[in-house]
Symmetry: C2
Subunit: 143 residues, 2 copies
DNA sequence: TATAAGTATACTAAATAGGTATAGAATATG
DNA sequence: CATATTCTATACCTATTTAGTATACTTATA
C-alpha cells in the first residue's frame, strides 16, 4: 500500500518542471542531475507522463520536456495514475472475476474498500503543483 | 497502491469469525474451506492477526481460533496494519534518511502525501466488522 | 548531414508476494 | 500418560513486480 519509486520520481519531475518559466524546455539530463534520478529510468518514467498528456516532449537538438498543462491543473492523482495506472485498492475492484459473487459473505468489505479508494483519490486530487510550489516558496522565505 | 492477497484473506477470516457465536472456536481448516484460502497460507496469515491481539488461538485437540475483541472494535485498518505493518504511502514517511532534506524542492509533496495517508487511514478506521456483517445480513434479507 | 536530443523495446537483477514444507509445542481425550 | 490433533516457528521455493540498464531507432536543429 505505497507508491512506487517511479511515482516518487515523477512527483519530483513535475515539481521541477513546475518551477520553470512557462513553456521553458528542459532536457532530461538536467532534471536527472538536479533531482538525483538515474537518467535512463527517468527517460522511461517521463514517457508515461508524456503519453498521459502531462508533459510535452521535444526531440532533436534543443529538445527536452515542458509541462503540457498549467501546474494548477496537475494534481498528485494525475501523476499517480499516469505512472501506475488507475488506483485500485484491491483485486476485487479491478475486475469482477476476482470477486467471487457466490461468496456474498465478503462483498460488503469490498464495498467499504471502494469508499476508501474514493476518499483516497479525492484527497490526491486536492493537491495541484501550483499550490505545492507556492507552499515551498513561502517556506523558503520564512527560513 | 493496493492491498496484498494476505490482507484480503485476513479480511475474509475476520469477517467469517465475526459471524460466529461470541467465543466460538473455529479451526483453521474450516475457515480455509469456507473462504477458499490455502490452508498453510491461512495459518501463516492468521498468526499475524493473533500476534496483533485481534484473534485468540487455541492449540491442541479442539483448538482453533476465535475473535479476541468484539467485532465492533475491529476495523479494516486494524487488519491492514496487523498483516502489512503500518501503512506508509511512500518511503519518505517511513524514515528520515530516505527524505533528502537538502532537496527542499520536493518535501512539500511529502507533506501532502502525509495528509493523503492520514485521510486514508481514518477512512479505514470507519469500518468495523459489526457494521459490515449487519450490512450483509440486511442485504441477504432483501434478496 | 552530423549530432544531440527523445522513443521503443527488450533485457537483467533485486525485492516482494504468494505459497509450501518440516520440525516442534500445547492440549483434550482415551 | 500416550497419542492424535491443532496451532507455532522457521525456513524455503517460485512467480511476479519493481528498479534499473542497454541497444537500436527516430526526430529536429544547426
Amino acid at each position: 500500500m505505497k507508491f512506487t519509486q517511479a511515482t516518487d520520481y515523477a512527483f519530483r519531475i513535475i515539481f521541477y518542471l513546475s518551477q520553470q518559466k512557462p513553456g521553458e524546455i528542459v532536457e532530461a539530463r538536467q532534471i536527472s542531475e538536479r533531482e538525483s534520478i538515474p537518467i535512463r529510468f527517468l527517460l522511461k518514467t517521463i514517457r508515461s507522463l508524456s503519453q498521459a498528456g502531462i508533459v510535452k516532449s521535444y526531440r532533436g537538438l534543443k529538445g527536452g520536456y515542458s509541462l503540457a498543462q498549467d501546474p494548477k491543473e496537475i494534481t498528485l492523482k494525475d501523476i499517480v495514475e499516469a505512472v501506475e495506472g488507475p488506483v485500485r485498492i484491491n483485486k476485487c475492484l479491478l475486475n469482477d472475476k476476482d470477486c467471487n459473487k457466490d461468496a456474498t459473505s465478503w462483498c460488503p468489505i469490498h464495498k467499504a474498500l471502494r469508499n476508501v479508494q474514493k476518499v483516497t483519490n479525492s484527497e490526491l486530487e486536492k493537491y495541484n503543483f501550483c499550490d505545492l510550489i507556492n507552499i515551498n516558496q513561502h517556506r523558503d522565505k520564512e527560513e
